[in-house]
Structures are given as structure tokens and as C-alpha cells.
Symmetry: C5
Subunit: 101 residues, 5 copies
Amino acid sequence: MFLAKVTGNVVATQKVASMTGHKLLTVEPYRVDETRRDRLVPTGRTFVVVDTLGAGVDDFVLICQGSSARLTPETAKLPIDAVVIGLVDTVDVGGSVVYQR
Amino acid sequence: MFLAKVTGNVVATQKVASMTGHKLLTVEPYRVDETRRDRLVPTGRTFVVVDTLGAGVDDFVLICQGSSARLTPETAKLPIDAVVIGLVDTVDVGGSVVYQR
Amino acid sequence: MFLAKVTGNVVATQKVASMTGHKLLTVEPYRVDETRRDRLVPTGRTFVVVDTLGAGVDDFVLICQGSSARLTPETAKLPIDAVVIGLVDTVDVGGSVVYQR
Amino acid sequence: MFLAKVTGNVVATQKVASMTGHKLLTVEPYRVDETRRDRLVPTGRTFVVVDTLGAGVDDFVLICQGSSARLTPETAKLPIDAVVIGLVDTVDVGGSVVYQR
Amino acid sequence: MFLAKVTGNVVATQKVASMTGHKLLTVEPYRVDETRRDRLVPTGRTFVVVDTLGAGVDDFVLICQGSSARLTPETAKLPIDAVVIGLVDTVDVGGSVVYQR
């Protein structure tokens, strides 16, 4: 899984029928700062994910990719490859808090 | 999933039998501009995807990769790893519209 | 999926039993030229794929990766993650032919 | 699979129900030093993984990604794409020990 | 799949129970030299794979990744994402032998 910040929303009216009613978010993966190791820094990449937990812009979330994105009750048969599996409260690295909600 | 712009078409007459009749598009993934954050920028990568929604060149689409590409009615048993699951209407990032159809 | 040029062959006598008799090719993925947009350019990467369609060196092929590589009649139970699903005839990008067989 | 060092912990209270009680770690993949070949060096990337083996910060672990992350008794139906499958004791490269617990 | 050279061994005593008795190797993927095209060159990346074919350090092997790594008799239910499926004898590129065992 990876840590990501919710950056926005995607609207697609014309879509595969089973996708109707599923919220789509853009997220940017974050990583631990390589040199300072005391904060999370953005990676510049953009993913679109399905959210069933009520995540909003600027929230830090945990993203699961691949076939396992279908292993939640709401996403079981969807043509999706990424889903929010948690809203992140804290990330601790090397003994210090690098993110707190 | 990722956002991509449809860039072209692929024709392959000699192919795995089950692929007959399926439209193949080339797409280029896009990402949010890292510095300005107010627009989508191309990544330079090229993917080939199956389209069942009638996407055309220059449309922005949402692409699902991996085994989940088989989770649409038309692609259920195909040897494919990427499919268009939506035609994008709008993408909102940080409160501003970065793409509108 | 991705576009690739067949670059060579791999021979492996000692292998998982189910792989006996399956042709292995080296391929190099290609992408649309980022600046000129009127041709395909090599990526420098090397993949090994199973071919069941009779592809030869210098042919352009369409490659499917992941579990879907097992969704052809000849590869159904093989320990493979990439297969040729088509021999490419033409690739059109932005209205011009960037590859023709 | 890949070698990684455990760097920290992630807490997410609001999550997909099946994830309750599963420990989440941040890990950084390591690779063999390209030039010296006698040590492991960090890659700068950040993954979040599920741990069922009691791994702690600074431990070297072996990570399995993708659908196979669900192939352990404790993770069978979880929406996860990465799991610790072993605590690494030693890594030998080119005849010399590059990591020892 | 990809071509790789076996570079070393990994020992992990504390692991998921089903992994007991399975040999773990470190491998480095190789690719065709982009400019000269007459040899294989290392990529600098490090993977850990399961081997059931008796591969040893410095052997060139063919690696299958993802769920298909479970499609061999010995690895059917393992939490692994990469396995050796062949010991490479020869690799031919552009008509010349770029690797011979």
C-alpha cells in the first residue's frame, strides 16, 4: 500500500455501468523524505482511486492497489485497481511523528 | 486508476481470437502539474487500452489496469490488462477545475 | 497493454515443466515520441514474453501483462506474466500513421 | 519480493472494517549497491505493509506484493497489496555477507 | 518476464509457515544494451525470488512476477510474487548471441 494525500475529484458521467455512484478521487502518493527522514514529501505522481470512507481533499489516506482493491464490501465486482482502505491518523518514522491528522 | 488522453488507434489483424472486434486505443497518462497544481500535464508514456465506451482521440479517459480490466461485461475473459472505465467530464484539484470536457 | 518490437529469442532448456514447447521472445517496449508525436521510439527496457502467434524479430506486437497473460487458450495455466496478443498492422497517432507493418 | 527496512508505523482508525487489528508498517526497499556490491543501500521509496510476524523498526524484512499478499492465513481476505513474509537473518551477495541481523 | 542474474541468497528463519523449505535468491534484472545491442547489461535493481530449479550464483534465469508466480507445482499456494521459471541457455538479439551459458 502507499500513503497519499487527496488532491481532488474526478467526475465521469459516461462510464462502465457498475461504476455508477462510486466516488472517484485524485491522490498524490507521499514518501518519507530521504535525507531528513522527519517528514513526508510528495512524489508528483497522480492516481485516481475509489473512496468508500468519506475522505476529503487534503486528507492523508492509505491506498491499496491491484486485484485487492476489490476486497472491500462496496468494491467487490468493480473494474477498479485502487481504493482507499484507511484515513491516516498518524505516521511515525524513526521515533518521530511525521504526520498527524 | 489513472487519467489519460486518447492519442490514437492500433490495428492488429492477426491476434488472439477472443480479441476480435475490440477497439484498441493508444493513450498517454496525465498527472497534476507538480509546481502549478492548476493543470494536467502529459507524462510521455504510451499505453494501449481496450475501449467499450466510444472514446475518441483527444478525449480524457479513466483507465483501469491489471486483472480488474476484465471486470466489465464486454471484457470478462479477454487477455487484456487495461480498459477505459469512464470518459472524464471534469477534474477538480485544490478547488479549481484542471480539466473540463 | 503496450507496443513493443521483437528483438530476439530466449532458449531455456531447464525450466518449469509446463513451459516446454512455448516460444520465448525478447521485446522492447516503444512509446510515442514526446515532442514530435509522429513516430514510435524505443524505451530501452527489455521484457521476455510468450508468443503463440508466430511473431518474428522486428515485428511490432501488442503485449498483455499480468494475470491476463493466462487468458489465451495456449497459456491458460502457465507461470507467465506477459504474452503477445496481436501482431500490429498500423498505429495512428494524432491523425498520422506512426507505424505501418 | 523485495528486501526492505522497517522505518515506522501507520495508525488509521477509520478504515475498511476487515482491516481492524492488523499492524501497518512503513518500509523502505533496499537494493544491492550497484558499484561496490558489498552492501545494501536504501532506494528512497516508501511502502506500507501488513505485518503478522512481529517485525519492528530497523528490522530487515522480505515483502510480497500483489494478490499473493493475501496468501497467508491472517491476510486471506484483506484489501491489501503488500505483506511481510519473513524477517531477514542474512543476505549473501557475491560470496560476502551484505546483511546480518 | 525478465532476464536476471542470480547474485546471492537470503536466509529468513522467522517467516510465514508455508515458506519453510523454499530457497530464496537475490537477482538483478538485465536488459539489452540500448546503444550497442550486442550484450546484456545490469539494471541495478534487486529482487528476491523463489527458486525450484537449482539455480546458483551467476546463473542467468527467467523470472515470472505477479500471481502467475503461483502457477508452478511447488509454489501453488505460496505468498510469493516472483519465481524462477527457467535457467537461460542462450539469448539472441538482432541475430547475435548476447548471452550463452
